[in-house]
């Protein structure tokens, strides 16, 4: 059932376009290609202590990819209930599935950027490592986190539609507040503690560590991330179920 909903959302999003679902893959690929071109060939940006700009590009994408996945998942998840009114009002099912399916949407850019990055690294970097498999648990944590946020926001959005409107701006702010485009060392040490507790940073950083360094987060931070993501999911589910009986008052 969840798979059916995810498929439904994916198809709806690209309904009527010539290439259809191919866009789900083409869009992030194009986005990442633009980043590669701009930072790798136009600006020739370099990380401190490294001589190729490809290293910077792959570092950037290793963080930006999961970020793309998070923002895509949250956007799709938040709109999931209100944009599928037809389904909600006509089929008796567990509505929780909608934001969860929305969160699954985020896994598409996640996988795409992983493949893109693996290809990029394949050209210049070390051969694939076992640590790359860490991507799987990270994807799961990311999914739980995004699903939790989506559950909360999608339910609130039924009553306060402004949430979906303001969301893109909030995501942009969150992106710049999170060390995605810049290394965390740039931040003053007081703010750095805060950034370390930011789950968005921890998710993107885990991805970076796994792919670029073949390492993982310190155990403490990793445990914190696991608890945080599960907690977000449980809380989201709780809030959704509280509001759900009243959906029909507004849909």
């Amino acid at each position: 059932m969840l798979r059916n909903f995810a498929r439904m959302m994916l198809r709806d999003r690209f309904l009527g376009s010539g290439l259809g679902v191919i866009w789900a893959i083409a869009n992030p690929v194009l986005m990442l290609a633009i980043f590669t071109f701009v930072f790798g060939f136009v600006f020739k940006a370099k990380l401190p202590g490294s001589e190729t700009s490809l290293a910077y590009v792959s570092w950037l994408i290793a963080g930006y990819g999961p970020w793309l996945a998070i923002s895509e998942g949250i956007t799709a998840g938040t709109a999931s209930v209100t944009s599928n009114v037809n389904v909600v009002k006509n089929i008796g099912f567990k509505t929780e599935l909608l934001p969860i399916a929305g969160a699954l949407m985020g896994l598409v850019p996640f996988v795409v950027s992983f493949v893109y990055l693996a290809t990029l690294i394949g050209f210049y970097g070390p051969p694939p490592r076992w640590a790359w498999l860490m991507v799987v648990p990270i994807a799961l944590l990311q999914f739980l986190f995004v699903a939790g946020i989506s559950l909360t926001l999608s339910a609130l959005n039924v009553f306060v539609r402004d949430i979906a409107m303001v969301l893109p701006n909030l995501l942009l702010i969150a992106m710049f507040a999170t060390p995605v485009f810049y290394p965390i060392d740039v931040l003053p040490s007081a703010v750095r503690i805060l950034a370390l507790l930011n789950p968005l940073y921890l998710i993107t950083e885990s991805f970076r560590l796994a792919l670029l360094n073949g390492s993982v987060l310190p155990a403490g931070l990793f445990a914190y991330l696991i608890i945080f993501c599960i907690g977000t999911f449980v809380l989201g589910l709780f809030i959704f179920r509280r509001i759900k009986p009243y959906f029909d008052s507004r849909l």
Partner: protein, 395 residues
């Protein structure tokens, strides 16, 4: 209309049949939801804003293999009721229990985006109805054949007419093997041909043991499909009973004038006959003025899933021209009816200034037809239609 609410349905006599749909004191409220209410709800409180009560204390059972009709004017709560039974709405109070999987047809265009093709829509519907992936191709093909949309099946929904959408929709929704159908006002859109086809399918599902609820203000289709009816008004059941009687009360027909002529009060309630035998029924009438009075009659039968059929029909004929008490006799030498219950409808007319006016009526539209019980003949079949057949060689 007499209001006795809430009414228990069905009558206790039928209650031994296990109910497939059970509603106990079902209420549904919709809240206006002021901003503060959202936080109240998140913290587990009840909204404080004003509420609209769409259903109030609905209690009923639908036995397996029966269709219940729900009549009511716009805004009476019919759609809310169906959605609540189907699990789309959660009842504010009360319990709904379903004994089987339900398929609901509440409105057109479920999950249908206008850019989808008919095929695509059908697949989506079947997927969302939890049809196993392996069965979908076959089911889609059956839907395609049933809708008779031909090439349009592969075209986007935006090119469809309303009737075509209705076809697609009905076909997809009744394709699943659900045992409960909840149908809201669907048959009112298609053309006669397709409506007949839809009724045919419902009949098929009925004889396959399916049950359901059928909400409409089209009383004629209720008569064709349902074995009992409830009338909803302002979210309450205000009346219930067999369809013929209820439809009349629902229509709130004006009674006949009974001024110049009328059926007498000492009227028989039930007449009897034997299939193929001869019968004579005496109809007492009272003529109150010296006018020409005419009597017409018909023998009809309402059959679940088929509608009602005329078996015998006689145009009004003059019975008298003077005031007085009369017994009009109707005699049928060889009753051309098989065993079963029929209804005798009688129409009494008087001619005033050259125009015939209805004076008194006993018919199902007025909820008071006479019951005619026809018993099976002991000796033989009442009528034989001789026929012969022989196989035709294939060319």
């Amino acid at each position: 209309m007499t209001v006795t609410a809430p009414v228990q349905f069905p009558s206790p006599a039928i209650e031994e049949v296990p109910a497939v749909i059970e509603c106990r004191d079902v209420s549904k409220k919709f809240w206006a939801f002021d901003r503060g209410d959202l936080w109240r709800v998140v913290f587990g409180e009840v909204p404080a804003g004003s509420a609209f009560s769409s259903l109030a204390g609905v209690t009923l059972d639908v036995p397996r293999g029966e269709f219940l009709g729900v009549l009511g004017r716009n805004g009476a709560g019919k759609s809310t009721f169906l959605r609540t039974v189907g699990g789309v709405f959660q009842p504010t109070e009360g319990v709904v229990r379903l004994g089987a999987q339900a398929s609901g047809i509440y409105e057109f265009g479920v999950g249908g985006r206008e850019l989808m093709t008919g095929r695509h829509f059908t697949m989506r519907w079947l997927e969302l109805s939890d049809v196993a992936a392996d069965d979908i191709p076959k089911a889609v093909e059956e839907v395609r054949v049933f809708t008779e949309l031909h090439d349009y099946f592969e075209r986007p929904l935006r090119t469809y007419s309303t009737g075509m959408k209705a076809r697609l929709f009905f076909a997809a929704a009744t394709q699943s093997t659900a045992q409960i159908y909840l149908i809201d006002e669907v048959l009112s859109v298609g053309d006669d041909y397709f409506n007949a086809k839809c009724l045919g399918r419902l009949r098929e599902r009925l004889s396959g043991g399916a049950s359901g609820i059928f909400a409409t203000h089209d009383w004629a289709s209720i008569l064709r499909v349902c074995s009992s009816v409830v009338i909803l008004d302002k979210g309450r059941i205000v009346d219930c009973g067999p369809p013929q009687q209820l439809v009349e009360r629902y229509l709130d027909l004006e009674g006949p004038p009974r001024t110049l002529a009328a059926f007498s009060d000492d009227f028989p309630q039930r007449l009897e006959a034997v299939s193929g035998g001869s019968v004579e029924w005496r109809i007492p009438i009272e003529v109150r003025d010296n006018v020409d009075v005419f009597l017409g009659f018909s023998v009809e039968q309402a059959r679940k899933g088929y509608g009602w059929e005329h078996f015998i029909h006689r145009d009004p004929e003059k019975v008298t021209g003077h005031a007085g008490q009369y017994d009009v006799s109707i005699s049928i030498p060889r009753v051309p009816l098989t065993a079963g219950e029929y209804q005798l409808c009688l129409f009494l007319l008087a001619e005033v200034n050259g125009v015939r006016q209805v004076m008194d009526v006993r018919s199902w539209t007025h909820g008071n037809p006479l019951v005619v019980a026809v018993a099976a003949s002991e000796s033989s079949v009442p009528f034989n239609m001789s026929f012969s057949w022989s196989p035709v060689e294939a060319a």
